[in-house]
Symmetry: C2
Subunit: 195 residues, 2 copies
């Protein structure tokens, strides 16, 4: 997605430790106009699929899932990272390691909101080692629902998550795949992909 | 907002401890069509204000802020509840007590995304004791920005937050104000308000 890549080049900041900061437009402050374009692009890429639900994980995934769910005219569900006293009833649970926060999270979705009838499009802002995505996939599979596709805004192509997901046979669409980035020079190199 | 009140009556579940579960449409699974109407309603109520930014708090506030920010054509910012290793630079910080989670959170916003020029519409899904809102207001004031208004989807009118905010002179618009709710009978009574 050209507009996204240009925005990453313009406003993304590469930090040591394979960290790309895009918090000026994607995951702290959000450029809603760009998010709309992202939603439309995911719709274009998955519109041949009979999606019934869009699933993501709090917090930054929510603003990605929103325009996608609206484009498909289906509800969105976000997995929660901790068990609040406000969550009761039966839950699907997965353990997920956070790359940036260096901690394990319990990720939960109420059983009420995923069923075996659902065809689920899973979306998130980043894909690095794939732990969050793996957790969401395992929740969809616990529900005996179908993973219709995986939609990622920025894939760190030099980490193993994307490769693993494609090898597992999932239909993964990443709107920008970064093949390398250098914290010293700030240079970001994108993979050439068909759009 | 009539459609919202009807939805709360239909799908909201009252639990002991003044807890209203609306996770089938507002803060776990989200009815994006309803969120769109909520965004339009906030726009209608605040459109006379020159809003430059919509501020909320993760996670459930994000899907409320999104359609509001889109309606105003401005960026949204969400305050984060913990300090991730991915957050650097200077931060506005407030301490906030969570009503449902019974814990204190440090709430942070990067100084890059709020300035003294900003006229900020603060939105959230719930207002109960007002701690989260107080934290967001204190962050806006730390930035010497202007609180242009407070937009709440569901106000628990039997708790002190809304009363306190109105007494402090803020322009608070709550789309549904609950005067009482009963966990045994499930009866929810809304305050009569001008719309």
């Amino acid at each position: 997605m050209q507009a996204l890549k240009e925005r990453i080049q313009k406003d993304g900041i590469v930090k040591p430790g394979h960290i790309l900061k895009v918090d000026s437009f994607l995951n702290h402050q959000m450029d809603v106009e760009l998010m709309e374009q992202i939603g439309q692009e995911f719709y274009r890429r998955f519109q041949h699929q009979p999606i019934t639900k869009v699933l993501t994980i709090e917090a930054s995934g929510i603003a990605v899932a929103y325009p996608v769910a609206r484009a498909f005219g289906v509800p969105m569900v976000y997995a929660k990272k901790t068990n609040s006293v406000n969550m009761d009833g039966e839950l699907y649970i997965a353990e997920v390691e956070s790359y940036t926060k260096k901690e394990n999270n319990r990720v939960i979705v109420s059983k009420k909101y995923l069923s075996s009838e659902d065809r689920v499009l899973i979306v998130d802002d980043f894909l690095a080692n794939g732990c969050a995505l793996q957790g969401l996939i395992s929740i969809v599979e616990s529900a005996e629902a179908t993973v219709a596709g995986l939609g990622i805004v920025i894939e760190k192509g030099f980490q193993e998550g994307g490769h693993r997901m494609r090898n597992l046979g999932y239909h993964l669409e990443s709107l920008a795949i970064i093949d390398s980035m250098d914290a010293e020079t700030g240079v970001i190199t994108f993979r050439e992909t068909e759009e």
